[in-house]
């Protein structure tokens, strides 16, 4: 077996996860934030590794 199989498994596994996720929680492009955070006037609210929950 070569890396072709394992690389395919990695990509296919993530694609399947995204497909299942989108089916369960369809995104709404009309609620999307401005394209750039910089200059948007909107506070950053994304999840980040360093952020405490409070």
């Amino acid at each position: 077996m070569t890396r072709r199989m394992t690389a395919f498994l990695a990509v296919a596994g993530l694609a399947a996860m995204v497909a299942l996720d989108v089916a369960g929680a369809p995104p709404n492009p009309y609620q999307a934030p401005p394209m750039l955070a910089l200059g948007s006037g909107v506070a950053a609210s994304g999840g980040f590794c360093g952020a405490l929950p409070n």
Partner: protein
């Protein structure tokens, strides 16, 4: 020969077309910001895999051969980001956030364990994604356990931080930037002093990679409003899976917090770190598929204990990086480049952990048999 070249060109053209199509679909059906973030993630994957820019490998090179070239390139990239990010954060603090996190007992211990485990599997936060995308079976096995570990670590995070943490300490403004640059130069000088005779400065390839990674990290900050990170997204994937399987996450102070609870109900295609993570895997896959023979390497023959060690180390990579408020990307790279002192403590703790991991790797059977 000509047919093979035509086939290769078609395959490479297909890779580019597929990448553009996926970015366009996400931009149209999820949002322009999310399409851009996926494109940035693809750029990270291409830069990291295509230019061989990594974290675990260069640390190993320094520990084993006293070759500092790769770490010097990392420090250069961090410095380049800091030079732009510090002023941006000072003038646009309402829109952009740094990788600020508190120093604490669990944070320091988590960094040590992460450094050890990233040498055992020879893949850090970004490296595990890159390696999985390019078909490395060790990283492919470690990745799901990394995600589960990240979820478990975040689930228990508040118990760990209650063991003792300092307030969040951040270097800011012109003075903060000057201190950061001086510290980066001081670390570089120490590495050069420790370097073995004949080891070189970073090659042209590594310098190009450092500039590319820095530019992409800044794009991540400008577009997403937050620095480049990895482990939050992995933990979110496992948390969403756990929630789908019926697990009640309201008992976790972390996942019950409004922001995180809301994110559980939203698509991963609207999560900043998830998008760049997906892009990194896809970008690395694209580079590996692009290279002649890039995916034709055989799978290494490893003993059972190596695969068992990979599972445990993968889980610990995720768990420890949550306690440490980030991995080599979120804490070391983004923490230092946006002024968080926890990034420096992370580096100081993870490096001795890495030395232990380098020693453990062959014992655990992870050096492939020839």
């Amino acid at each position: 020969m000509a047919a093979a070249q035509t086939g290769g060109a078609l395959g490479r053209g297909g890779l580019i077309a597929a990448a553009l199509a996926i970015v366009a679909i996400v931009a149209l059906f999820v949002g322009a910001r999310y399409g851009l973030l996926l494109a940035i993630g693809l750029g990270f994957g291409v830069a990291l895999e295509g230019l061989r820019f990594g974290f675990a490998g260069p640390w190993r090179a320094m520990i084993l051969r006293r070759d500092p070239a790769g770490i010097l390139a990392q420090l250069l990239a961090i410095g380049l980001v800091a030079i732009v990010a510090f002023p941006l954060l000072a003038t646009h603090g309402a829109e952009l956030s740094g990788a600020a996190a508190p120093i604490g007992w669990a944070m320091a211990g988590g960094a040590f364990v992460f450094g050890m485990c990233m040498q055992i599997v020879l893949g850090c936060g970004s490296g595990t994604l890159v390696n999985a995308g390019s078909g490395n079976p060790v990283s492919l096995l470690a990745l799901p356990f990394f995600a589960v570990g990240s979820f478990a670590g975040s689930y228990n995070l508040l118990w760990w931080t209650d063991l003792g943490s300092l307030p969040i300490l951040v270097l800011e403004g012109g003075r903060g930037l000057a201190i950061t640059v001086v510290l980066l130069l001081a670390v570089a000088a120490v590495l050069m002093l420790l370097a073995a005779p004949g080891t070189r400065m970073p090659s042209g390839r590594l310098l190009v990679a450092a500039v590319a990674v820095a530019a992409l990290a800044l794009a991540n900050l400008v577009v997403g409003g937050q620095p480049w990170g990895v482990v939050y997204g992995l933990g979110l994937w496992a948390a969403k899976a756990a929630s789908t399987l019926g697990m009640d996450l309201s008992a976790s102070g972390f996942w019950a917090a409004p922001n995180n609870a809301a994110r559980l109900g939203q698509s991963v295609l609207t999560d900043v770190t998830s998008l760049t993570n997906l892009g990194i895997v896809a970008g690395a896959f694209g580079v590996a598929a692009w290279r002649v023979g890039g995916l034709s390497q055989p799978i290494p023959k490893l003993p059972a204990r190596a695969w068992a060690a990979t599972v445990v180390a993968g889980f610990l990579l995720g768990y420890s990086s949550r306690l440490a408020f980030g991995c080599n990307v979120g804490a070391f790279f983004s923490g230092i480049s946006t002024g968080s002192l926890h990034g420096w403590v992370w580096f100081a703790m993870a490096f001795p952990g890495a030395a232990l991991g380098v020693w453990l790797r062959p014992i655990l059977g992870l050096e492939a048999r020839r």
